[in-house]
Structure formats: structure tokens, C-alpha cells
């Protein structure tokens, strides 16, 4: 945990990322932490380990929009444990508080340039912070370039190191990138192999038309229509079960 000097008795006072007011444990005086002038470094601890990240990727890959059995057929080519830097700039714009998030590292990774608010337990990032062997991506965009273009007065500016698992997988000779947020478990991806809805639509439309037709047929011959309906029920069920399982 980070500490500041008490302005009264100069004793070190430990404080955490979210605190505004704190009491000095030595002289009991109340201290206000003014963050408007300084830049803070925060880090979010890894909550999701490698096995869980793989599990989250598999769940995501088994989703209804992804190619069928992508979770089983995708071959994971590389896994990287990384800390991605994001600027969090809290500003006072005409008396209203606004929060801006900007990436501090240039990236083409999916989700990271649009990553709005890192959800997680912010900790002060200093020498005692345990990165757990994750690769630290150096911020290569300066905070000044953002600060100068933003409106209002500064209230707090911080560089937040956000934990990610960067996976790349191969599916049908093509390589794709996925980022797993290692704090709240979200999966980011820009391009992925998709599943066609054609077979699903075909079954639905065919079944609907067949039943509508048999409904009309029931006016002339009830018995024939009922028999046909039974057959259609079986047919639609069998077709849809196959589609849901295999396509």
C-alpha cells in the first residue's frame, strides 16, 4: 500500500486508490488527499488465471453467433499475460464532473481502444504491487497530449494498468485475436468466424408454411390433415434437433 506524509506530524500514512479523506494514525488529524496536481499510477489485480481465461474463451467461442464447435476446433496458438495501460482523467467541466478514458499504449488489439472503464479493484501501483509475472506494456502515448485537448480543470489523473489475457487462435488456417479482461471476465473480439443462420431460418419457414397449409387442408379433410400434421411435427423436430446440434 502506498503512503503519504502527514502534513502535521510527517508520519507516513497509508492510503488506497479510492480514498479522499484519511486520518493520520499517529496524530489523529484528518488529511484530505488532493489528486488534481499529481499523476497517480494504479493497477488492477489479476482475478482470472490462465485456466479460467481459457474457459472463458471456450464459453465465448461456443456462443450462438460463432462458428459451430469453434470452442473445440479453434487451436490456441499463443497466450500472453499482460498489463495494458489506460489513462483515467477525472475533470471538472463547468462545475460538472466528467471522466475520460484514453488508451496509453498504441494498440490494434480488439476492445482495448474502446475500453471505457476498467472494472476492478484499483490498487496503487508501486514497487510493492505484484504483477504476477505479467508483461507490462509501456505507455507510449503521453498524458499531456490528451490533457491539453480535454475541456475543464483537472481533478484527478491516473495511469491504470489493466490486466488482460491476450489469446490468439487458429481456425481454418486463419489467425484471430481475442482479449480476455482478467478482472471482470469480459471477452473482446473484433473479427471471429461466424455461423450462418440459413439452416435455422429454413427449418422455421418450412415448418410454418407446412402447418399453415395443413391448417387450411383441415377444412376439406380433417383426417388427412391430422396425419400430415403428425408427420410434420416429427419432421420439424428431427430437422431442428439436427440443426441445433450440428450446424
Amino acid at each position: 500500500m502506498a503512503s503519504i506524509k502527514c502534513p502535521k506530524c510527517a508520519a507516513p500514512v497509508a492510503f488506497d486508490a479510492g480514498t479522499k479523506f484519511i486520518k493520520c494514525s499517529y496524530c489523529d488529524s484528518q488529511i484530505y488527499i488532493d489528486r488534481s496536481g499529481a499523476g497517480f499510477y494504479y493497477g488492477v489485480p489479476f482475478v482470472i488465471d490462465e485456466t479460467n481465461a481459457m474457459g472463458l474463451f471456450r464459453r465465448w467461442a461456443a456462443g450462438p453467433k460463432k462458428a459451430k464447435d469453434l470452442d473445440k476446433r479453434a487451436q490456441v496458438a499463443s497466450v500472453q499475460k499482460q498489463y495494458f495501460p489506460v489513462y483515467m482523467l477525472r475533470r471538472d467541466v463547468n462545475g460538472k464532473e466528467q471522466v475520460f478514458f484514453e488508451p496509453a499504449g498504441s494498440t490494434t488489439l480488439p476492445g482495448l481502444h474502446a475500453l471505457k472503464v476498467p472494472a476492478g479493484d484499483l490498487k496503487i501501483f508501486d514497487a510493492s504491487f505484484d504483477t504476477g509475472g505479467a508483461e507490462l506494456i509501456k505507455p507510449d502515448i503521453e498524458m499531456v497530449s490528451y490533457v491539453d485537448s480535454l475541456p475543464g480543470k483537472p481533478k484527478e489523473q491516473a495511469l491504470v494498468f489493466f490486466p488482460i489475457w491476450r489469446l490468439s487462435y487458429v481456425f481454418e488456417q486463419k489467425r484471430y485475436d481475442v482479449v480476455v479482461d482478467a478482472s471482470a471476465g469480459e471477452v473482446f473480439s473484433a473479427v471471429f468466424p461466424t455461423r450462418s443462420s440459413a439452416a435455422y431460418i429454413l427449418v422455421a419457414v418450412f415448418g410454418f408454411l407446412a402447418f399453415a397449409f395443413e391448417g387450411l387442408l383441415a377444412l376439406d379433410s380433417m383426417a388427412l390433415a391430422l396425419v400430415l400434421m403428425m408427420l410434420t411435427v416429427i419432421g420439424v423436430f428431427a430437422a431442428s434437433f439436427t440443426v441445433a446440434r450440428r450446424l
Binding site: 488529511i31 496536481g37 479460467n52 471538472d92 479493484d121 410454418f208 391448417g215
Partner: protein
Amino acid sequence: MADISVGLNCPACGGAVSVVEGESTLLCPYCSSTLFIEGDQGVTTMAFKNRVNRESALKASRLWWSRGWKARDLKRVGRTTEVYPIYLPFWRAMTRVAGWICGYEIRRHTDSKGRVHEQKVPKEVMILNDYRFSEIATDPGDLGIRSLRNFAGETSFADFDMIPTFEATTSKDDALARARSDAQSRARSSAKVSRVTMERLHVLTRRLSMVYYPIWVVRYTYRDRMYMTTVDGVTGQVLSGRAPGDPLFQSLAITAGTSVGGLAAALGIIMSGIAAELMIVGLLAGGVILYITYRFFRHGSEIVEGEFKHKPASVSQTIKELQSAARTLQEAYR
């Protein structure tokens, strides 16, 4: 460089004073002078006491597995890997809306000779309502939680150091602005005036506070895939979750949907001899039934409950889509 730690003294007597976040006035304990605090306006912060233990969080999530259209073998194959509590930050706003909404309503009635009369009924509604609004103060990531459902519970900071706390990262003024517009639109719809001619509403903010709410995250695996549920740390109910679906339920849904929908359409066509409108009603009803079941058929391989960013398979989401489609159709027709 400016100092980041600022000692607080009474400007009259120099004695040390303590300020609690969210307060704007203070009485100096030494010289009794009343002090007004200026500067970065904070908010009152409170935390709910975590009342749920590991076992009951697990039990709630296992119970959730067996409800609804989830994979039938989930109870047998599913393995819980992690159960842990977190504190999530929420903005909670109490607002009061006061004012008047005036307008009229048109009532149509048919008399004994079959003539249609239109009557304009003037309306004047006074509004004085209190509203409660809550919104998560961070990006919810993939937790599927956006707002608070429960506002009652014991408040205490006792567990605060033990449980990881997600920090508030959204702006309090943005949250307040959303709370106010939410209150205004809720007040407007509560008045039930169909044609408004005059509206004068005032939204008064009564309180904005930050609430830290305990949530249990339960992660489990099913055939190498990792899913999760979240359990309310005060009431012990499941708030959100993802679970594997079952192809059997998907195909049963579409079989039922095509048969009922198709027959409804056929019935409409048959009845069109009596009144032409019945055909349209029948075809429309059939189409809607088919669409809802189709959505489940197509997206039901994963069951998603809660306030997630995308969840195509849910019935409420589908109904919302249908409503917006109907509205665009209606506008195009006009």
C-alpha cells in the same frame, strides 16, 4: 510540485477538524464556529453488510442451474471452480418530481344508430412523486449487473477491507443527470395523459449517495467452458448468469412455434370470410409466435439472464425488438 496531502484546520481557531465525505457544513469542536466546506463536492458513501456465506451462494447458484431451459446434464457435469465476494459501487439517487401535466384524451363511442362520436376529455394531473434510481458506477464488464434491485439491508463497513472493492470510475454528475431524466420520464408516464398540451415539471434531487453492494461471483465449468452466476450478497438471490442451453429445448421450441404459429395463420385465413381483419390478426399472431420461438431456437445454445450488454435469446429482448419494429411500421403507415 503541490502537496497531495492537505491538513484540515479550523480557519477561526486553528484546531484540527475532521470532515466526512459528502458533508458541506461542519461545527468546529474547539471554538464552535460553523464552517462551510468548499471544494470538490463528495458524496455520502455507504456499504451494505454481506449476509450471504459461501455455502448459500453456492446453493443459490446450483438451484438456478436446474431452473429454466438450461442444459439437462448441467447439474451432473457442471463443476463450481470459484466462489468469491466483491463489492460493486452503485450511484443511488433519490429524486422528487413535482408539477402539473395538462392535456386531453379522446374517447370514441358508438351510439344506437351506429354513429361514432368523438369526445374530448380534458385532463389535469398533479404530480408529486418520489423516485429512486440506481446505476452501477463502473463498467460492469461481463457481470450482467446494471442497477440495484434491493435497497434494504444493514449498512456496515466491517467487511470492507476483506472483500475486494471495485472502484467507482464513472462521473457522479452524469449519473445524477440520468437519474433526473429517468424520474421525469417516469413521472410523465405515471400521469397517463395521452395528449399533452402543457407540462411543468420540476425534478428535485433529494440525495445522491454511493452504495457499495456485496455480490458473490460463482464461476463454474461445463465441458471445458467457463460460465458464471452472480448472487446478491444481501438477499441471496441470483442476479445474473450465463449457462449452457440444450438443443432438445431449442428444437422443442421451434416445433411448438411453427405448429402453433402456422395453425394461427391458417385459422386467420379461414376466418377471413367473416371479417377481413381476422386474416391480418391471424397472420400477425402466427408471425410473432414464429419469431419469438425462432430467436430461442437460433440463440438458445447459451442461456443468459441479467442485464448483459448483448442477450439475443431472452423473451423480453425479443418483445422489445418487436415493439420497436411495430412502431417503425406504424410511423411508415402514417
